[in-house]
Subunit: 194 residues, 2 copies
DNA sequence: CGATTCTTTGAAAACAGTCAATCTGTGTGG
DNA sequence: CCACACAGATTGACTGTTTTCAAAGAATCG
């Protein structure tokens, strides 16, 4: 079950982890299965786990004053899900994380995570590469959400995450892009004609 | 001249750095003065330096297909400026960074930065705290740019960075918020009446 | 000062959001 | 197996916000 993560770790770090070191990682994490619609994190609670998705799909979203859902991110195989701010600070989160499909996860608490970072140099390296990637991706998303029209946002989504279109319902993708489902539908039709 | 950074480092890490360790940091960095309107980074070139602003103000911006400037971030005393993606990957940047005021900087190349991270544990710790903060701030900015109206964006700016209003021209602040200068002006008037 | 840059204001146009109705597909229970 | 219910997608009409264009007014700098 951890095999998928092992492969992932090797790819990210451009290395091959040895059995002993990988053993430490397996010890730090726990496997967890989640049914569709089950919650990993509820708004107002403290985030306890960092989760790695081995199989399935999830979403992280917040709910604003008017009751509207805003999907912050999706997660699929090979992605991490958590509210790091809450996880580290122990402050209650403003996000919800739930499963959009049945999921197989690897989870670890903040302490377990710190422990494995100390024990495994490759895991540590991975964490930093991910931080950097995350920071670059966030930058791109800021610019897209700020400067792109609805059409450009959708084209950008298709370009960067073509699989999302088949995998997630349009209204969720619209929420992720920060546009209305109606606009999403119209723009999609528009692009189809081009 | 490095005194300001020393104070900053102590505050961020909640520690007091000793003279020997701080000496290493001074060795890794170089002081650099910049006149207003001078460029630290030009679009299409490779970013060579990570810069810490001791005094002054800068901006990082990109230029889109239609020739419009989009300010990605401002930097003032105690902030870092660079395109980390380009710095690490050696790929040409799509950003410009220039001085909005006369500046006093501390700069280091990627190699020097890696060296000082290895040599100074406190500097290393600082780097990680900053990564995390940056990631949280980026998240906030994504949600703001996606879900806020022009009025909410401006209020958010006033709340988080009240000094910016006196320090930077409105058209640049508008660009930073992703709204037109005209809308900025109108919304500002609107808020003033409340 | 004079020149440039920045800000404000007005009017029109473009874009996206909202509301409401209809359509489509899927899955469930009778 | 069919019928119904439900969630999601589409479409149209309307509304509201923001942009754009243009011009005038203020502020700043050499």
């Amino acid at each position: 079950m951890y095999q998928f993560f092992r492969q992932y770790l090797n790819t990210i770090t451009s290395s091959i982890i040895c059995d002993e070191e990988f053993q430490l990682i397996e010890e730090a994490f726990t496997l967890k299965a989640m049914k569709k619609k089950q919650f990993l994190l509820h708004e107002g609670t403290v985030c306890r786990y960092m989760a790695f998705i081995i199989k399935g799909a999830m979403r992280q979203y917040s709910i604003d004053d008017k009751g509207n859902e805003h999907i912050v991110r999706f997660g699929i195989e090979g992605w991490w899900m958590s509210d790091r701010e809450s996880l580290r600070s122990l402050k209650p989160t403003k996000y919800n994380i739930d499963a959009l499909e049945d999921c197989q996860l690897m989870i670890a608490t903040n302490d377990q995570l710190n422990w494995v970072k100390e024990q495994s140099p490759l895991f540590f390296k991975m964490a930093h590469i991910l931080d950097e990637r995350h920071s670059i991706a966030a930058q791109h998303r800021i610019e897209a959400s700020m400067n792109y029209t609805a059409e450009e946002k959708l084209k950008d989504l298709i370009k960067n995450y073509p699989d999302f279109l088949k995998r997630f319902p349009q209204n969720m993708l619209a929420s992720y892009l920060g546009i209305s489902p109606e606009t999403f539908s119209r723009v999609r039709k528009q692009i189809g004609r081009q």
